[in-house]
């Protein structure tokens, strides 16, 4: 009986060590959401040069993640569609590949969903339409949702809604982001980026722009601005 227990216990230890090993061997990609230098919180007042605002919802897709190593090799993640949701911490940190333990020169990814996936009918996983990141009356994914309120918005409940997307030219909203990393900027098994929302809201006036629900020039403006929000932690 005792022997059996010891055996089980050893198995358990082995299992744990394998799991731990696996975790150590992965390269993680993390995004921290901030307002300037503070960690972002929902329903808290923030001040841009034009407006006072609060956030109530923040969701966006990161896709097509690519790791460029200093030795010139490139790793492209397959089926690379991540949905970042402010309310779920585990959506902000995900593994992308095996850790090669090689210096990384840059990370490349897109904000949003490519036109091929937008044309492929009902997909699964993070691209399942039940995630609520999809327009109904007009096909296509919503690349990014930012919602909140501000006294500058003369709208119902002072709300602002930015639903940014569009997969057809000239309003193809998916945007590529490239972030150069230097050796001391990244942790051995984690690439940590900061997304600073202040950089977006300093560029716009919520009194003028507060509701985007369709693809078009306004969505493109926010999409292009959103590429400037990322930096190395």
């Amino acid at each position: 009986m005792n022997k059996k227990l010891i055996y089980l216990f050893l198995c358990f230890l082995f299992f744990i060590s394998v799991m731990a090993q696996k975790e150590k061997d992965s390269l993680y990609f993390g995004i921290k959401l901030k307002w300037k230098t503070e960690n972002l919180e929902l329903n808290k007042n923030y001040y841009s040069k034009n407006d006072t605002l609060q956030f109530s919802l923040l969701k966006f897709y990161v896709s097509g993640v690519e790791i460029n190593y200093e030795d010139g090799s490139i790793y492209k993640e397959e089926n690379s569609y991540h949905l970042i949701d402010f309310e779920y911490d585990n959506s902000k940190l995900f593994s992308i590949s095996k850790n090669e333990n090689k210096p990384i020169s840059k990370i490349v990814f897109a904000i949003g969903i490519d036109s091929t996936a937008s044309n492929s009918g009902a997909l699964s996983g993070n691209l399942d339409l039940q995630k609520g990141m999809y327009w109904a009356w007009q096909s296509g994914y919503i690349n990014m949702k930012i919602e909140g309120k501000s006294s500058s918005c003369k709208t119902r409940k002072n709300a602002f809604h930015f639903h940014v997307g569009g997969y057809l030219e000239p309003f193809y909203a998916m945007q590529k982001v490239e972030i150069k990393l230097n050796d001391n900027s990244n942790d051995k098994n984690q690439i940590s980026l900061v997304m600073d929302l202040a950089k977006l809201f300093e560029e716009i006036k919520l009194s003028e722009l507060n509701s985007i629900m369709i693809p078009g020039t306004e969505a493109m403006k926010i999409a292009i601005l959103s590429t400037k929000l990322f930096s190395v932690e």
Binding site: G121, Y134, P215
Partner: protein
């Protein structure tokens, strides 16, 4: 020796049970009628099975898709009228709310590249999310629908039979609905039978057919009597709706007032007509094309010159249009309310 055989026998028996208890699908072969083009729908991505078809059929007729469990797809898409909503110019949904357009028919969808009057939907599999989430139709979210289905033992079983998994997702729900509606092939009207030389038009129908080919078929392409294109067919804008059609999707002014060219199959029963259901009778429709065209910048090139049909010719065209009725399709029990 006896014991070994005995164990061996049990082993085979268990293997047999395991092999056949695994989900077992019955494939459906999608039939392309003679003379029809190659379907647009990619069946490789959603192979049709009897089990998937029956699940889709149940979903199509089940108000579980709507917020308050009152509205099913079939409320606006009745089989006997070509799967459209008759007698209402604008279709209505939840709480008696009224939409802004007349529901389209659901016919020969496997050949459609785009869906909706403005072509805003690019794939049959994502079509259903539009009525599900529309505030005036079902006013529900797909997430919620999936949750309701997941907590329903019957659906759990049916999804397992159809897709081999108990875990119901948005993807599988939409694919099941597609498996049902994509099979709505109508190709057994008198018109089809004449083309196959199994029947003959009457003299009047034949004259109407010739007129149709001359004046109508350039947009309503045979044999589907539809096209995947969008046209401005010269309807005056309704100031209570201000619906500019395709332009809302593309934001291109050249698409102003353009709408889908719908199929004319079963047109005898799909009244009222046009995107806003403004015409109640085929007579009004033919009169519109004959003498009611409003000129505007985006008017279809096919409609620039007046058609100038005589009264007799209008009657002939209508008698031809009535040969597009396919009763085998309209009353086919396999598309009806599930047993």
């Amino acid at each position: 020796m006896k014991k070994t055989l005995y164990i061996f026998g049990i082993g085979i028996f268990i293997f047999g049970i395991l092999a056949f208890s695994k989900s077992y699908f019955t494939p459906i072969y999608f039939d392309v009628p003679k003379g029809f083009p190659k379907p647009v729908y990619d069946f490789k991505n959603n192979p049709l099975t009897e089990e998937g078809f029956e699940l889709g059929r149940k979903l199509f007729y089940d108000p579980i898709l709507s917020k308050d469990n009152t509205i099913s797809c079939a409320v606006c898409h009745l089989q006997q009228t070509g799967f459209t909503h008759v007698d209402h110019d604008l279709s209505h949904g939840i709480d008696g709310k009224i939409g802004t357009r007349n529901s389209l028919t659901l016919q020969n969808l496997a050949w459609s590249k785009n869906f909706m009057w403005d072509g805003g939907v690019n794939h049959l599999d994502v079509q259903a999310i539009a009525p599900i989430t529309s505030e005036v139709e079902m006013d529900e979210t797909l997430e919620n629908v999936v949750q309701k289905l997941n907590s329903n033992a019957t659906y759990q079983k049916l999804f397992e039979i159809a897709f081999g998994t108990k875990k119901i997702t948005g993807q599988l729900t939409l694919k099941a609905i597609s498996q049902f509606v994509v099979t709505f092939t109508t190709a057994n009207s008198k018109y089809d039978k004449v083309l196959k030389k199994e029947e003959n038009f009457t003299e009047m129908e034949q004259k109407g057919y010739k007129l149709f080919q001359k004046h109508c078929a350039s947009c309503h392409n045979e044999p589907l009597l539809a096209s995947n294109d969008f046209k401005n067919n010269g309807l005056a804008i309704d100031p209570t709706l201000n619906d500019f059609g395709r332009m809302k999707i593309t934001q291109n002014p050249n698409d102003s007032l353009k709408f889908k060219v719908p199929t004319l199959r079963n047109i005898e029963f799909t009244f009222p007509y046009m995107h806003d259901g403004r015409f109640k009778t085929l007579n009004e429709v033919v009169k519109h094309y004959n003498s009611g065209i409003q000129k505007s910048k985006t008017l279809a090139k096919e409609l620039q010159k007046p058609i100038n049909l005589s009264d007799n010719e209008r009657v002939e065209i209508i008698s031809f249009l009535k040969t597009l009725t396919d009763k085998e399709f309209l009353f086919n029990l396999k598309y009806g309310f599930p047993k």
